[in-house]
Symmetry: C2
Subunit: 136 residues, 2 copies
C-alpha cells in the first residue's frame, strides 16, 4: 500500500498545499517511516535522494504539514522534537535506554474529560509513558 508520488501530491492538494517535489518526498518519508522521526532523521534520509534539500525547507515543510493538520508534534522529551502523521489517538511509550518510541492503544476511559475541565475546550489529548523496553 505504498503511495505513489501522484497520490501524495493529491493528498497535499486536498489540504491546500502545493505539491512541490521536496514536499512530496518529505511526506513520502513520513508515510513510509512511522518511526516518529526527528528533523534530523527526515533530513538525513530525504537528503540522500534529494541532495539539494536544505534543512530550512524541512522545517518549513513540517510546519506547513502541522498547520494543515496532517502532522503532529510528539512532545515526550525535552531536547527532542519528533513528528508523526496523525492517525487516531494513541499513547506513546519511550524507552529511556534505547530511545525508541512505541505506540500503544490507550484505554478510552482514560481520555474522558474529568469534571474539573468542564468548561474547557479540549482539542488534543496525549498520553505517554516512559521506562525500559523488553529489548533493553
Amino acid at each position: 500500500m505504498k503511495l505513489t508520488h501522484e497520490e501524495i501530491a493529491q493528498l497535499l492538494l486536498e489540504n491546500n498545499i502545493k505539491p512541490s517535489y521536496q514536499r512530496i518526498r518529505i511526506m513520502e518519508y513520513l508515510i513510509d517511516n512511522r518511526i516518529h522521526p526527528t528533523v534530523e532523521d527526515i533530513f538525513n534520509e530525504v537528503h540522500k535522494d534529494v541532495p539539494t534539500l536544505s534543512k530550512a525547507t524541512v522545517y518549513n515543510t513540517l510546519h506547513l504539514f502541522i498547520d494543515a493538520g496532517l502532522l503532529r508534534v510528539i512532545t515526550i522529551d525535552e531536547h527532542e522534537t519528533r513528528y508523526e502523521i496523525g492517525l487516531h489517538d494513541h499513547g506513546h511509550f519511550k524507552c529511556n535506554s534505547c530511545g525508541k518510541i512505541y505506540d500503544f492503544d490507550v484505554n478510552p476511559e482514560c481520555l474522558s474529560v474529568p469534571d474539573s475541565l468542564n468548561n474547557f475546550e479540549i482539542s488534543e489529548k496525549n498520553v505517554y509513558f516512559k521506562g525500559i523496553c523488553p529489548g533493553c
Copy 2:
C-alpha cells in the same frame, strides 16, 4: 503551611543535597509557586532576592533536584520546558491561548498498562490535554 528555610534545608539534606542558600531559595520558590514555572520564571523571581544568582546555577540546581527525584520536567510543548515538584500523578491541561497550565486528576483506569506493554518496565506516566481554558 509555608516552609521555613530550615525545613527546606532539612528536605534537601534528606535527599543528599547540600543546602546552599541558592538551592534553598530555588526550592522555596518551587514549593511556594506551583505554577509549573520555566527556568525563566524561576530565575527572574529568585534573582530579585538573590541578585548574584546566575542562570547556570538555576540549571545546575534543577538538574540536581531532578536527579534526586524531587522535581519533574513537564514536557507539553516544544520550546518550553517547565518544572514541578513531584506530587501524585496527575494530568496537565495547557491552554493554547493564554499558555496557562492547569492540573487535573486523571481517571485511574487511564494509567493502567495495556497488554501491548506487557514486558515493559514503566517508570513514568503522563497525560496532557490541550485546548482553550474558560477564561480565554
